[in-house]
Amino acid sequence: MKRSSPLAVPGGESGLAVADENSPPLGKMGQARLLHWATRALKAILPPIAAVALALLVSAALLAFNGFPATDVFTIMVTGVFHDVRSTSEVLLKATPLILIGVGLCVAFRCSIWNIGAEGQLYAGAIAATAVGVSFAGLPAWLHIALILAAGAAAGAFWAAIAGLLRIFFNASEIVTTIMLNYIAIILTDFLVTGPLKDPAASYPQSAKFLRDLWLLRFLPPTRLHIGILIAVALAVAAYVFLFRSSAGYAVRVVGINPHAARYAGINVPKNILLAIAISGAMAGLAGAVEIDGVTFRLYQDISPGYGFEAIAVALLANNNPLGAIFSGILFAALRSGSELMQINAQVPQVLVFVIQGLVILSVVGFAAFKRQTARPAE
């Protein structure tokens, strides 16, 4: 049951791991099939759980080492995060952009495109969504909302496609270009909210507020939870189907595993690279639009606390599987909520969450390597 490694570089070790991702052998008896799926799910879930546990353990040690009561801190975190409907809904609210971006990054990473620029693509989407949201008065609300979301996705895809095209035509590393585009998008946002998009009535640099009619539907009042989370889950399923059940998604994955083999097989490599990075950009841009239209209702400079970077860890923890990204997105959102509680109740600086994220990534790759080693006794 070897899964294609998400961490394989092109031309790396796992050249043949594509075929057995889908289509498990269909057992004649339902019971055997159930057992098969259960062991498969268990095998998929255990390493990430162990990785998160290890990361939390190291963080606890760090806290204890610096004089914080580590066990109390984690008790506050665990009991506080899913304490009641309100706190749970806040976790899901934070999970929404993480799932959206994480799902997009699954597609890019499966194609071995290292899009580190989701943060900038989120801002590009937020800018476009705001521009559409504060203009076109008089449109029917449903159409206006659809336009806001579409503009966000299109702008995110455009921002990512810049890096994709530079990679294809100039062989410019998308790692560096996407990071630079992050800075440029955030500086652009700063320019717009102090200039062209600034609300003349406001003293802070921010855009005008969206009309109430345009807000995304809240389906669990009195909580702030909006339909963005449902959109995110639906798109995660769609991305899974695309990646693992469609020939277009298969082509994307083959390019990611071995671009040379893909070319020999008649797959258009540049087209797939552009497609994968544009999908990830569109998802990040949509996340920006959803944040604007569901949470902040206006644009300002710090609308994202680093969702675009956190989503990298979300995708990796999910083994670049969009369905897994739903759960890892919720997990990271819970960690973020928990770190806020730590700050409020135990005076632990909230930035600890970055340490936890970094540790999660390291332990995920550590466990993956361990699995690789045990899987090849021949070496």
Binding site: F170, S173, V176, I184, G195, F354, G358, V365, A369
Partner: protein, 310 residues
């Protein structure tokens, strides 16, 4: 008279560019050595932050600049060891490990800064300017160029040393071979991993010094995320300079010039350009630089590929 004003303006801007380029020179030379051995470390940004914070905290406690830089190098070596273990020993994807290192660097330094220093608000004594005798008395050029702190001068030494190391020593030649054709090195009976570990450790130590420059020679304070992308710019510098240390020095100077111009122009009140356009300049230039060098045949051929014995 007008010409003299222009001359002194140009000279001070170029001298400021040298100062502003210094942290990038250290990081870029380090990354050049690492990438020449086939290891791409995008965690430079995080390592620079670790160096900046460790240097600051040490000088804060001991009031000794030498201890400060030594501690920064120590922190850089530890971070490099972590990176090397994951990317070389257990052969994890170098980009992913580098991204984790950036998160760790940002998170750890901000966490420790908020825990121990945020309320103090005190700075530290920074590295003093060293006047070079005779040269510093040359009109215009002297005060601008030859009254810098020791680290700014040392960028020239680091470049020369790196060039000598990579081109004239057996160690350096083998190190480059490890980046081009590790199998040949392996067959010759030398350890590919050992050379890659050395390259990564040299690279991360230099990146940490570049970070420490920010707190111990540039500003006298630590600020969260104060590297603001310099580590990533160093990555672009390496590509633009085609993996040459001397090239990396001059490309870094070019970026320093953009930082300097940005500062000069921001002080200009009626420029007609929003200041954000100037802020974005180094990042836009980085992208343009990558487009200009489209021919990447100089890249070490095994860059980013873990070595596995057949």
């Amino acid at each position: 008279m007008q010409n003299v004003v222009h001359l002194s303006f140009a000279v001070t801007t170029v001298a400021a560019a040298w100062r502003l380029a210094t942290p990038i020179v250290f990081a870029a030379i380090g990354e050049t050595i690492s990438e020449r051995a086939g290891v791409i470390n995008i965690g430079v940004e995080g390592i620079m932050l670790l160096g900046a914070f460790t240097g600051f905290a040490t000088v804060f406690a001991t009031q000794d600049l030498w201890f400060g830089f030594a501690a920064a190098i120590g922190a850089g070596l530890l971070a490099g060891l972590l990176f090397a273990f994951f990317s070389i020993t257990i052969k994890a994807n170098q980009i992913v490990v580098g991204a984790a290192l950036n998160l760790l660097g940002l998170g750890l330094t901000s966490f420790l800064f908020r825990t121990y220093f945020v309320s103090t608000g005190q700075g530290v004594q920074i590295a003093p300017a060293l006047d070079i005798p005779i040269l510093s008395d040359i009109p215009y050029i002297g005060p601008a160029f030859f009254r810098q702190n020791a680290l700014v001068y040392s960028t020239v030494l680091v470049v020369v040393a790196a060039r000598f190391l990579l081109r004239r020593t057996a160690f350096g030649l083998t190190l480059r071979a490890v980046g081009e054709h590790p199998k040949a090195v392996d067959v010759a009976g030398l350890s590919v991993s050992l050379y890659r570990y050395c390259a990564v450790l040299i690279g991360s130590a230099l990146a940490a010094v570049g970070g420490a420059y920010l707190t111990l020679a540039h500003a006298n304070q630590f600020v969260e995320a104060m590297t603001s992308g310099r580590g990533f710019i160093a990555l672009a510098v390496v590509v633009f300079a085609r993996w040459s240390p001397v090239g990396a020095f001059f490309v870094s100077l070019l970026f320093g010039l953009f930082y300097a111009l940005q500062l000069v122009l921001q002080a200009e009140p009626n420029l007609g350009v929003p200041y954000q356009a100037l802020q974005a300049l180094p990042y836009v230039v980085t992208i343009i630089a990558l487009v200009v060098v489209r021919n990447r045949t100089d890249a070490p051929s095994m860059l980013g590929v873990p070595y596995r014995k057949a």
